[in-house]
Amino acid sequence: MIAILSPIAAIALALAISAILLLASGYSPARAYSVMWNGAFGDLRTFSEVLIKATPLILIGSGLAVAFRCSIWNIGAEGQFYAGAVGATLMGILVTSLPPALMVPLVLLVGMAFGTLWGMLAGYLRVRFNASEIVTTIMLNYIAIVGTSYLVTGPMIDPAGGKYPQTARIVEAAVLPRFLPPTRLHIGFIIALLMAFLLYLVIFKTSIGYAIRAVGINPEAARYAGIHVERNILLAMAISGGTAGLAGAIEIAGISFRLYQQISPGYGFEGIAVALLANNHPLGVIASGILFGALRSGAEVMQISAKVPSVLVFVIQGLVILCVVAFGLYRTHSYRALRAEKERG
């Protein structure tokens, strides 16, 4: 019972606090919330937009869930997302003669490979020099983002684009098929669901996942048990980097079709919250990814239709996240306390 009620109560509390804020600023909470709800779930189109926004979050979140299970704090999903977007765009521009059946996998796999390599760079520094992956991944974010700016304004600039900082459009064969016209929902969402499920199997049903989790809980004990700690750290960085890279590739091939200087509104960082909210469970990431996507999507409509300024919308988003996370922690905490008490008594 508590398990069901806890997240609902968290969201209800956040909305209640937000309602006071809205009232104090002179907006009708009822109108704002009904607009937000309709903006996320009102009809097929708005709901498909929620899923589109959830796609990169689910991919990044499920990859990060694996890394966090290994106690590897990859803060670099944003940079790995950019690396994947660059790789995918390169393929989409340079390879022009393949049929879609080959082109789509090529674009996605190259994007994934770029993200994997970008992630493993930090993994290698950690394993070889014991450099904190928190620091190196943050720094690699900047390099990836500024590097993308350089590519888009220089070597990869659209020759027909009148000097605007954008690349050429990727070839038609590289575009992800849409399966629910007239909406924009593309097969990237299905790929994200499959990837989350696959990572769930890997982490909980295979010996590979067992080793990753063992390293995360206690690396010295894992080493004593004969688990290759360094290899697992590299693997965790490769998986989380690869999913972020895949998310970047899907954003290019499914939504924007060309690379701009800024391609992500912070998916890489939001993915961290998505993974944590799901307690680093790849299947839970699907739910928390959709929740975050709905918040993003509903927030835009709230600005347009209820004319609530974006700052207030961000506050509401933040309150929802804060309450859900806090309630989650409280629950885990009291559960542990309960168990400890049982063991003692």
Binding site: F47, T153, Y164, I304, T332
Partner: protein
Amino acid sequence: MKQRVLLYVFTVLLLTAMLVACAGQPVTPTPAPQEKPFKVGLLLPGSANDQGWNQIAYDAFKRIEKELGAEMSYVELEQSPASFEKAFRDFASQGYQMILGHGFEFQDPALAVAKDYPNTFFFISSSRIFAGNVIGLNTDSSQPFYLMGVIAAKMGKGAGLVGGMEIPPISEAFTGFINGARSVDPNFPVSVTYIGNFTDAAAAKEAALSMIAQGADFVIPNADVAGLGVYQAVAETGPHIATFGAFGDFTDKAPQNVVGNYIADYGQGIINMAKAIKEGTFKPTSNVEFGLKDKDVMWLTFNDKAARPVPEDVRKLVEEVTAKIAAGEINTLAPVQ
């Protein structure tokens, strides 16, 4: 174990809620068939009160709301192409007649949406696109900068131009300046620097100081907020250095040095179009290019209190050149050697 159960329950709950919502009737009421309100929507790639690029459009739309009695709504979007197309559709599906995407990056998303809403006009700032109801709006700053070039070459020994980023709106203005200066003196020295952003006033100041050290006595910024550094540099160097205000009145930043201001009222240009759309007389045949021909959108003013005010004969020349540019007799964007 308990947590896993929670996760499943959470997922199921969320999906059920969605299904219920999808099955339910859309709550939006259909308005009574009365006189259709004039609705204008604005898509901003940043904060509406940034004192710069976004605020120009925001203020313009506020004026449309006030002066034309329009219903105005805007959305601040994060830099994410995924959001742009959705926001266009959110507006268009609610019957907005005029939507402005404030930046070239809105081109592709507007094209994708526009074909489904033939009765809505989609405007794109800083773009030269024209495809049916998707219309690029461009302010041709090369024209007023051409006038500045003429004045600088008449009055000075050399000029320096400090740009933000090397993008068409900036580099084209500088092309105009150089063409203007060369029309007076083919050997007039002009140096150009881009500081690489629109925020670093210290870098702009350094660039201006080094240009002055190399002999430039006209130094002009085109770098949004960072341009303030140039006014600091000229004001500190002394009254013998001249400059122009760009896109607004900057006389108070360097009262001795600002000899004139290029005033751009993008908002007036947008309002003129909004008026035409409201009255149903807007029939575009090309993209919109604001220039000196649009006398209420861009013009040049002079500062009589400057240390070196622009002499009367030069003002007369500027007037003649302005007329020629407005008539299309001078190509301010001719390629520079």
